[in-house]
């Protein structure tokens, strides 16, 4: 009886948690590209819906393009590991915050509405710096391992 009650409580708790919302989509891939979500790793393919906390990993010949809800766009190069740590976007107000961590590799960015919604509302962290993005197009490259 007690275990039934525990299972019921756990089920209710799980159902009460909001489903993770889509933050953007994989638009193109070349070579080996995978998505790490928690303890799960899946191959990336066009149309795959990304969620906050996902990490994109590319192999030696891997490349990937990503479009986000706020019209930010990413191009990720070979041998990269990049985590979308925080993504909060209020679509009616077109404002939010976006933190990306480049642990290794190369990332090309065209920033979107979040970067325009407030000073440094969009940030990119590297092992040595924090970048505040203020409405622009840029490339950041991390050559060290920095794989924390």
């Amino acid at each position: 009886m007690r275990s039934f009650a525990m299972v019921t409580a756990l089920t209710v708790a799980l159902l009460a948690q909001p489903a993770m919302a889509e933050i953007g989509r994989i638009k193109s891939t070349v070579g080996p590209v995978s998505i790490q979500r928690g303890t799960t790793t899946v191959p990336a393919q066009p149309g795959y819906k990304l969620e906050p906390g996902d990490t994109v990993v590319t192999g030696k010949t891997g490349r990937v393009g990503i479009a986000f809800l706020d019209d930010t766009r990413f191009a990720i190069g070979p041998d990269s590991k990049i985590k979308m740590t925080t993504y909060v976007y209020d679509r009616p107000r077109q404002s939010g915050t976006f933190l990306t961590e480049v642990k290794r590799g190369s990332l090309g960015v065209v920033s979107g509405k979040i970067a325009k919604s407030g000073k440094d509302a969009m940030k990119v962290r590297t092992p040595t710096s924090m970048l505040g993005v203020r409405g622009t197009k840029f490339v950041v490259e991390v050559k060290g391992e920095g794989d924390s």
Binding site: E22, G47, R63, S106, T128, M130, G135, V139, E141, G146
Partner: protein, 195 residues
């Protein structure tokens, strides 16, 4: 405390790789160059601001931005993987009406064409209103307009998620200077965004 933070940020900088690099590219057509600030990862203080196109800076504790003649070939190749910019297709309504007017059914073909060149396309439908009536009524009307178009697109076998219906109310009309209770057909619309 400040000394400890500076020592910590210095240690992080030394521990990182001196080869880490930021390069500001030329922005897309019609867009200002913008800027990227290089911040201390611990204190958040600005180390440098890169605000001129074709400028690069090593991500060290003392970045020194310098002009370059052109993007490195590897970066040029990288940026070829950027997805296409989203496309916006506007559908106008009569006052207080919802749904796609028959005169604008041709825009459904435009949506299909935009999807065809964007693999794994996401369709977002954004509703707007002018500033007539209350804010609350306009929030509801803009959402209802967006949902009515979502339903029509789904009925036409377009892959639209109802969660991608967004009501922006009268925000755009106000941002562009319309006074309250001002009838303006330009904002009786939805935008179908294909990205």
């Amino acid at each position: 405390m400040r000394a400890a933070l500076l020592a910590l940020s210095g240690a992080i900088a030394l521990g990182g790789c001196a080869g880490d690099m930021l390069t500001l590219a030329e922005n897309e057509e019609g867009e200002a160059t913008g800027a990227v600030a290089i911040l201390d990862p611990v204190t958040g203080e600005e180390r440098a601001v890169v605000n001129t196109k074709l400028t690069e800076a090593k991500l060290t504790s003392r970045p020194k931005p310098r002009a370059i003649k052109e993007l490195r070939p590897a970066y040029f190749e990288l940026l070829k993987n950027l997805p296409l910019k989203s496309e916006r297709i506007t559908i106008f309504f009569e006052s207080g009406k919802q749904g796609i007017p028959p005169s604008q059914f041709g825009k459904v073909d435009d949506i299909r064409k935009a999807m065809a060149i964007r693999p794994g396309a996401q369709i977002e439908v954004v509703g707007f209103t002018d500033t007539e009536d209350s804010d609350e009524d306009n929030e509801n009307l803009s959402t209802e307009r967006a949902m009515s178009v979502v339903k029509e697109l789904i009925a036409l076998d377009l892959p639209v998620d109802p969660q991608d219906a967004v009501g922006r109310g009268e925000r755009e009309a106000r941002a562009n200077g319309d006074p309250d209770n001002f009838a303006n057909i330009l904002y009786r619309k939805v935008e179908v965004v294909i990205r």
